[in-house]
Symmetry: C2
Subunit: 187 residues, 2 copies
C-alpha cells in the first residue's frame, strides 16, 4: 500500500562509502552525506537509523568491493606467493582513486577511532582482516610446509599491508614499490 522509495539503498550507500573513505568518519557530516547520497536526512535516518548506521553499511560496501577486486583474484590465482605480491600492488592502486591516495578505509577507521571504535564496526573490520590473512596462509602453504613459519609470515604480511595503506598517503609510488619488492625478497 505504501509509497516506494525513489532511491536504491546500495547505490546511495556506495556514494556514502566514497565520502567516508575520502574524509574519514568525524569529518563527514550528515549534511555532506545528504548532498553526496542525493537523499534527504529523513530518508537517511529512516533507512539506516543514524550516521553510524550509514557508516556501518558503508564499511560493508567497502568490504564487498575489496573482496571482489582483491581477495577473489588472490584466491583464484595459481601463482602461489607471487599472487600475494600481486595483491599488494593491486591494493595500492585500489587505494588510489581519481588521483587521490585514500589508503584503506578499514585501516583508516581503526586509526581514526582507535580503541573507542564501536564494537560492531571493529568486528566488521577484524573479520575482514582475518579473511585476508587466511587467504595469505593458503598461498604461503605452497612455499613452506611448516605451520609456525607460515603463521609468522602471515603476521609479517598483515603488518606490511597496514604500512602500505598509510604510506600511500605520504610517500612516492617508487618508495612503495621499493617496499613491496623488499617485502617479497624476504619470503
Amino acid at each position: 500500500m505504501p509509497r516506494k522509495k525513489n532511491f536504491i539503498e546500495e547505490e546511495v550507500i556506495e556514494r556514502a562509502m566514497y565520502l567516508f573513505w575520502r574524509n574519514g568518519y568525524e569529518t563527514t557530516s550528515v549534511r555532506m552525506l545528504e548532498k553526496e547520497m542525493g537523499i534527504n536526512q529523513f530518508s537517511m535516518y529512516s533507512s539506516f537509523g543514524s550516521k553510524e548506521g550509514v557508516f556501518i553499511e558503508s564499511i560493508k560496501c567497502y568490504k564487498k568491493k575489496a573482496q571482489v577486486t582483491l581477495v577473489d583474484k588472490l584466491k583464484s590465482s595459481s601463482k602461489g606467493v607471487l599472487a600475494i605480491k600481486q595483491y599488494f600492488y593491486d591494493f595500492v592502486s585500489f587505494s588510489k582513486d581519481l588521483n587521490q591516495n585514500k589508503g584503506c578505509l578499514l585501516t583508516n577507521t581503526i586509526n581514526e577511532l582507535g580503541e573507542n571504535t564501536d564494537t560492531k564496526i571493529r568486528n566488521e573490520i577484524m573479520k575482514f582482516a582475518l579473511n585476508v590473512r587466511n587467504s595469505f596462509i593458503e598461498k604461503l602453504k605452497t612455499n613452506s610446509p611448516d605451520e609456525q613459519t607460515i603463521e609468522k609470515q602471515a603476521n609479517y604480511l598483515m603488518v606490511s599491508l597496514q604500512g602500505l595503506s598509510v604510506s600511500s598517503k605520504m610517500f612516492e609510488q617508487s618508495q612503495l614499490d621499493d617496499f613491496i619488492e623488499s617485502v617479497f625478497e624476504r619470503l
Copy 2:
C-alpha cells in the same frame, strides 16, 4: 608591568599533546583541551592563536619527545643495524602508554587529515620523517656500501614503521614481534 601567566606553556602543551594523541585532531574539542590543559579558552587563544595553533605546538612537543627517547638513542648507538631494530621495539613501547595503544601521533595525523593536512603541519611531520630516515641511513652504511641498496632499505624501513604504528592498534604484541623479527632477519 603586566600580569604574569600562571601556567607554563610547555607544560600545558604536553597535556594537550597527550589528548590529541589519544583522540585525534577532530575528536578533540576546545572544551576538552580547556579541561585537560587546566587553562581557560581565553588563555589558550591568546597564547596559541587557535585550536590548530595548539595542535602545531603539540606536534612539536611530540617530535621533541620522540627525538629524545628514540632518535637520540639510535644515533648514539654503536650497534649498527641492530640499533635500528632496537628503535623499532622502542617505537612500539613508545606508542603504548598507560596500556593504551595510541600509535604514532605523526602517523595518526597524516592518516586522519590525509591530503587536506595543513601545509605547516605536513611540513613538520615530513621533516621528522626525513630526520629518522637519515638516521637509519647512517646505520645502514655499516652494512652495505652500495648507495642504491641503502636507499631501498631506507624506504623499506620507513613504510614498515608506519605499519607498526597502525598495527599496534589492532594486532597482538606477538604479531608485532613476528613482524620486527622478519624485517631484520635479512638486513
